[in-house]
Symmetry: D2
Subunit: 122 residues, 4 copies
């Protein structure tokens, strides 16, 4: 299994070989990341919750969703590299912070607690 560190190195080499580093500011990469997330949303937007739960087994849409996840991951890894951030550690730090704010007792299955808010998120 490839590690994030190896993937980061491969994406960096991909950009360097094409002399694309000049375009890869954090601002531009964040926009590219958002663009790819937009394509992911477009694949899921008209599906019912049930259809979305089974989407990866759909012969037509499943591979497209997987490809979009790949694109999102590429830009996220590249953005973290350019920023000099360890994205896994950033996630763990945020998860620990969220654990303090959404305790298991208070948050248990409560949509009232999380409507309009971000479980596991900000």
């Amino acid at each position: 299994m490839t590690s994030i560190a190896e993937l980061t190195a491969r994406v960096r080499a991909f950009a360097q070989e094409r002399n694309w580093e000049q375009f890869h500011t954090p601002k531009n990469l964040a926009m590219a990341l958002a663009g790819e997330v937009g394509e992911l949303l477009a694949e899921l937007q008209w599906l019912t919750p049930e259809q979305s739960a089974a989407v990866i087994r759909d012969e037509e849409i499943g591979p497209r969703v997987r490809a979009e996840i790949g694109d999102v991951t590429i830009y996220l890894v590249r953005l973290a590299d350019v920023l000099g951030i360890d994205l896994v550690q950033a996630a763990i730090d945020k998860l620990e912070d969220s654990g303090r704010r959404y305790t298991v007792e208070a948050a248990h299955g409560s949509i009232a607690k999380i409507r309009g808010d971000h479980p596991g998120g900000s």
Copy 2:
């Protein structure tokens, strides 16, 4: 260094402990991912390219950007887990596909080739 597999397990446990799996359809998680990317954009939107390149060293904005990267990573990892996708492999497959479409020779430093298009992406 924590691996993606370990992070995935921790995020899954976080959701299970709070009985939040019922909310974590691919569709809902993609929306949550997009919401976090929107918060990341909001941190960078008024910066010049130069300011954005130095943003992580800004005492005020730097930690917020890192926290947003953490949030984005959490939801991306959770989404891949729910879909049953290896997100690193999905990225590598996409990178290889992009390598065939944007050859080093054709793409070298050319903004004409990439304006409105996605280097390293779709």
Copy 3:
């Protein structure tokens, strides 16, 4: 009822009075628009289809959704103004184009036709 032209003039004056025109490039405004759409998604992300259909009558979330729609509209109007585009005419032109591509006969109620695609859209 206020027209788009009047709203455009008010948003422009708002920016000019604060000397914010320097920040209002199309690129920056598109990011701001995306950030506000992200906030809108965050309000709706955990809702069932049924809950989302009734969201505007929810005492807590309804006003927040309306406020986010207001923010999205402000940035869209400002972006169109900076670009020198009539956004209503742009919408009509696109709607006519979509009408040719999604004929009533072919598209009638068919999710197969529109899954992953954009009815009334691109």
Copy 4:
């Protein structure tokens, strides 16, 4: 010049004729809106601020940007219609609220005040 009310009626008829109302929940439409904003970002992501300021005069990208603005407007108008919201009034209400929070004196040309925040926005 077509009004928002007329555009709203045309977009509604477009959806009704195709029996697409079943897909047009606020949640789904917000996702579609975000998907179109993502396409707009993709057009602008690699441009310098100067290139973005002149984008509408670019023979290739200009018409694509205008078409994306059209798509964004279509979904925003449709979402407001489904929610029963007057989007222009929602924008004006928000603008007045922002005027109280960002007074002309305090906000004048100050990037320090607005970095990571939303002038004319939330």
